[in-house]
Symmetry: C2
Subunit: 215 residues, 2 copies
Amino acid sequence: MTSSITARRRASEQRRATILKAAAAVFFEQGYAATSIDAIIAQIGGSKRNIYNEFGSKEGLFTALVSEAAEEALEALAVENIGSRDLDGSLSEFGRRLLGIYMSSTLIGVLRTVMAEASRFPELAKAFYEKGPGRTSDRLTAVLEVARARGEIDVPDCRMAAEHFVGMLRDNLHLRVLLGLQDPPEAKDAEAIVASVVSIFLKGVRADRTVSEMH
Amino acid sequence: MTSSITARRRASEQRRATILKAAAAVFFEQGYAATSIDAIIAQIGGSKRNIYNEFGSKEGLFTALVSEAAEEALEALAVENIGSRDLDGSLSEFGRRLLGIYMSSTLIGVLRTVMAEASRFPELAKAFYEKGPGRTSDRLTAVLEVARARGEIDVPDCRMAAEHFVGMLRDNLHLRVLLGLQDPPEAKDAEAIVASVVSIFLKGVRADRTVSEMH
DNA sequence: CCAGTACGGTAACTTACCGTACCCGTCAAT
DNA sequence: ATTGACGGGTACGGTAAGTTACCGTACTGG
């Protein structure tokens, strides 16, 4: 009895996941308006009732897709506290994760569609920003403020510096990937990028030796 | 006789410009697929024959729009050589212009649509990148290499550093503007951002004093 | 074994829109 | 003044797509 109920629920979740996967492939490739429900169904079989029963409408499917994809991609950031080590280690770890996420095909697709549909789904854009890049900014700002309090760095505005740091990771390479002109970098190249970013940034914000030697 | 011909040509160019302006408003707001020719005509009056006579098709109108809008926005970068001053001045000037362009409503719209439609119009994405961000990278890389040859800076990879620099200008603030969550910064705030970026970057890449004092 | 229900497939309905054709007014040249 | 070309407005063909009505089916509970 209950087993059949849970079996049904499992099947339903399975269907839901299948739909979302196919929807991601089409929405993230073609954009919202150019994507047809038929195109999604053509990938997974079945009929449109599947989608309308589960998500109610095209908008419902799209918002569910973006929310869940963003959530999934971004949760890698939220797991544990990163600011516990020294600044170099924190920034490196931060950068590694951030770059990996930004270069993931999921987040590339989310970025493309969320930017494109920002005027049609403003609340989606807001939710995405706050859960992802906004939270990242907050976290990194806090890390920098601790370092500033310890006299390790010397910047007038930690938030601005934090935003510059994440910007360095979304540089022209990231833009080329977004534009489909290049594949995401291999792990080795990504590591080199993070090292370069952290090196320049750290040297750029570090307090002068005279100051850091004061304590 | 000839006066009427030139008058006609002027009128034609006027019409073309009017169409492009209205097309920009709609395409950049709604995206390619969601934009209807009727919506563009509704803004400027006239009939669709205007558009089809001038641009042939919806695709033709779109590619013409993106090409010309990008060209217009990006030509501010190409005017004169920037690397003639000292590095600080060059980077500041570079940053000022770049930030102004990236925050302009025109380029915000171009970025949104070019990213979204990259899979449908790959050659458009390529042309945009090469004329804009790619050229910027090249230019800045050259500036940095000159500075490195003079021993002013010390970085392993000037191109990578250049890309990081432009990335710093496209930080989370730029993302918020792209997502429609915030208006572009006022001139005063933009100046502060550029100053912060140049300060951190310059300090981050500057050669150690022991090295720069060697000559 | 039977009634009820919920789900899935077919297909139709309605709308939107690209691209084109037609009709009419306007304006210029002879 | 007449004629002809051009452009505005409208309507239409064809197609594509979002959404829903209808119906069969399979599974739940007694």
